[in-house]
């Protein structure tokens, strides 16, 4: 699943800095480099996973792509209806509303992503209502079809219930229905299964994959669970402190991890067999807040391979090591 000549989504030089310490009439003196110079592409119908530990900028990336945040710098190019790439990074107003039909998001916590005072019908039909698509009976029919499609049957018995009457898995199915109701071409899924019970996770993941194939939707799948990413994604990008440090097709990345951080991540996944002894790669310390990070490699402080080269040179660029395997490290 390598990049074709016309990707659905192309991100280049994407940056998001959050000011810290500023206030009213006071200039902020520091910036959190939440997302720092991201470049990647997602082909039409493909799916990419973003993995990394908490605070590495995965969710910020997702929210930038759906334009909940305005980027500090960089471009987000996405295919419009005619198949041409257009930059939506700094878009506002009416053309922004049209873009909202093409990109949707599924949130992590199904208990917070549905308004407790609105019925399921209201929630799922909301994108249609604000976009002014169809009349009431058309919307009702569309909502009913989608609810049945995501496995909430019969739809009429769910439409006029409130979120608190449903289980976590059912709620997440409703969130999926809401994201799909406007026929988007791209969905950001922000850890959609991490709050769900293990027993229903696969059901929701399978549903997402089926619907993706059926409706030709691409995903950016944000997760910290490598097993989930492997199940769902064609490509995986590993993020560390706002940077993608390694990106490769899923199996390639899992079997030939090259960046020391990726290796450490993979070595931390437990193998359910007590006899297998595996080399554990130890990294020092914990993740730090990326407030005005020093100019050398972001992983320098924790890297087992780091030496003077890593300290004296800027953060390494992503280099192609063959097979679409991109690594940002001087040492591999």
């Amino acid at each position: 699943m390598t990049t074709t000549n016309s990707p659905l989504l192309k991100v280049s030089g994407l940056k998001k800095y959050f000011p810290v310490g500023g206030g009213f009439l006071r200039k902020p003196h520091n910036f959190i480099h939440a997302v720092d110079d991201l470049n990647f592409e997602i082909p039409s119908g493909g799916s990419m996973g973003l993995v990394g530990e908490s605070g590495c900028g995965k969710t910020t990336t997702g929210k930038l792509l759906v334009r909940l945040y305005e980027p500090t710098d960089g471009h987000i190019l996405i295919q419009d209806e005619q198949g041409n790439l257009e930059d939506i990074a700094y878009r506002k107003g009416a053309s922004m509303k049209a873009f909202r039909r093409r990109v949707q998001m599924i949130f992590q916590d199904p208990y917070e992503s549905l308004n407790p005072r609105r019925t399921i019908y209201d929630t799922v039909a909301e994108p249609l209502a604000v976009q002014g698509i169809g009349n009431i009976s058309e919307r009702e029919e569309r909502v009913a079809t989608l609810l049945e499609r995501v496995g909430l049957t019969p739809a009429t018995s769910f439409m006029f219930r409130f979120p608190h009457e449903l289980s976590g898995g059912q709620r997440q199915r409703i969130a999926i229905a809401r994201a799909l109701v406007v026929n988007p071409s791209f969905i950001v899924a922000d850890e959609p299964t991490s709050m769900l019970d293990v027993s229903i996770r696969t059901g929701v993941m399978n549903l997402m994959m089926e619907l993706a194939a059926e409706m030709n939707v691409s995903y950016l799948y944000i997760t910290h669970d490598l097993a989930v990413a492997r199940y769902m994604c064609d490509t995986i990008g590993v993020m560390y402190l706002g940077k993608i440090v390694e990106q490769a097709p899923t199996e390639e990345l899992l079997h030939q991890p090259q960046h020391p951080y990726t290796r450490a991540l993979i070595s931390a996944v437990p193998i359910p067999d007590p006899r297998i002894k595996r080399q554990v790669i130890d990294i020092k310390g914990g993740i730090s807040a990326p407030i005005d990070p020093p100019p050398h490699c972001r992983f320098y402080a924790r890297c087992p391979l780091a030496d003077e080269t890593c300290r004296d040179r800027p953060h390494p660029p992503l280099q192609d090591k063959g097979n679409g395997h991109l690594v940002a490290c001087y040492k591999v």
């Binding site: 998001m105 604000v130 976009q131």
Partner: protein, 330 residues
């Protein structure tokens, strides 16, 4: 109904019916929680009692009570004048008022007007004042709180500093000055009190609640759906604030009724009759210092003020439990 997923022909009507049914259901759930709280029920009974008094007054005036004698403002019992040697229940030469008797259940005031009639007549305007002030307060506080929490920044700073100033102001003193300058009627008092309370403490409480709702991901989902600021504030933020707003409505009623009593006790309101004015009449004629003897001049009005204020407060407390599940015992 259950197995037809695509009943779209009669969709609009069935949608509205569904919504009405849901609303009834949620009201019933709220009532089930409310009625288990004895405090709230006591408050509700008192409020209903006063509401009945207010409704009964025009009926009594039209049927049983002669308007010339029992009118709360212009009435006068002429028996006082024509009786040569009055029996004990009629006013005596040294005491111009009726004591409570069957003819005047709560006696008359120093001007010969029936106290019960005054009490019942005033009830209606007290209700209107309380509810009016509460509506103004809640309208302002909910809008300002939601807008301030949603936009943050300069708007937030402006409204919050304004709320601080409002909270710092001594309400009664301000109202005394304003009403002496502008001759307040009941409606003016309702609006001014509503504004003072609405921009003050209530806004801060509502804003803090709005801040906890603003960060929920359904707000982000609404924005991703393409909803503008107005859509998000009025379909997501405000409906989730309304229970709290309603609760603060109850507390505002208490404050408004109380400040009315104070103002009309000072004779600063341009109104014909109110509970505060009844006490003021007694005080102006010099009877307030002997309240045990002339209890019917002071206690009916005083108790009414206390009871109705307390009743709205109690209902508010009980509703707090309906609105805020953490306070429930179960």
């Amino acid at each position: 109904m259950n197995n037809t997923a695509h009943t779209t022909s009669s969709a609009p009507t069935s949608l509205w019916k569904m919504r009405l049914r849901l609303m009834r259901k949620s009201l019933k759930t709220g009532w089930d929680i409310f009625k288990e709280n004895p405090v709230g029920m006591v408050g509700l009974v008192i409020i209903v009692f006063f509401a009945l008094l207010a409704i009964l007054h025009p009926i009594l005036m039209a049927t049983v009570w002669d308007p010339g004698t029992y009118d709360p403002i212009t009435g006068y019992d002429f028996k006082t004048l024509i009786h040569p040697s009055p029996p004990s229940w009629l006013p005596q030469p040294d005491n111009p008022m009726y004591k409570p008797s069957f003819r005047h259940i709560l006696g008359t005031d120093p001007l010969g007007r029936d106290v019960l009639s005054q009490l019942m007549y005033s009830t209606r305007s007290e209700f209107l004042l309380g509810v009016g002030a509460a509506l103004v307060t809640v309208l302002i506080a909910t809008t300002v709180g939601a807008v301030s929490a949603y936009y943050g920044g300069l708007i937030d700073i402006l409204f919050m500093r304004m709320a601080d100033v409002m909270m710092m102001l001594p309400f009664i003193a301000i109202l005394i000055v304003l009403s002496s300058l502008f001759q307040f009627k009941m409606i003016h008092l309702a609006i001014v009190y509503g504004i003072l309370a609405g921009f003050g403490g209530t806004t801060i409480v509502i804003k803090s609640q709005a801040l906890t709702i603003k960060v929920k991901s359904y707000i982000e989902a609404a924005r991703i759906a393409g909803g503008g600021d107005g859509h998000i504030i009025f379909t997501h933020l405000v409906p989730n604030l309304l229970p709290l707003s309603f609760l603060y409505m109850m507390f505002t009623v208490t404050g408004a009724i109380f400040s009315e009593a104070v103002l009309s006790f000072f004779g600063l309101l341009d109104i014909r009759m109110s509970w505060g004015l009844m006490i003021q009449t007694a005080q102006a004629a010099g009877y307030l210092l002997n309240s045990w003897k002339y209890w019917y001049l002071m206690f009916p009005a005083g108790l009414s003020i206390t009871l109705l204020c307390a009743a709205f407060y109690l209902v508010g407390r009980a509703m707090d439990e309906v609105v805020n599940p953490r306070l429930r015992k179960r």
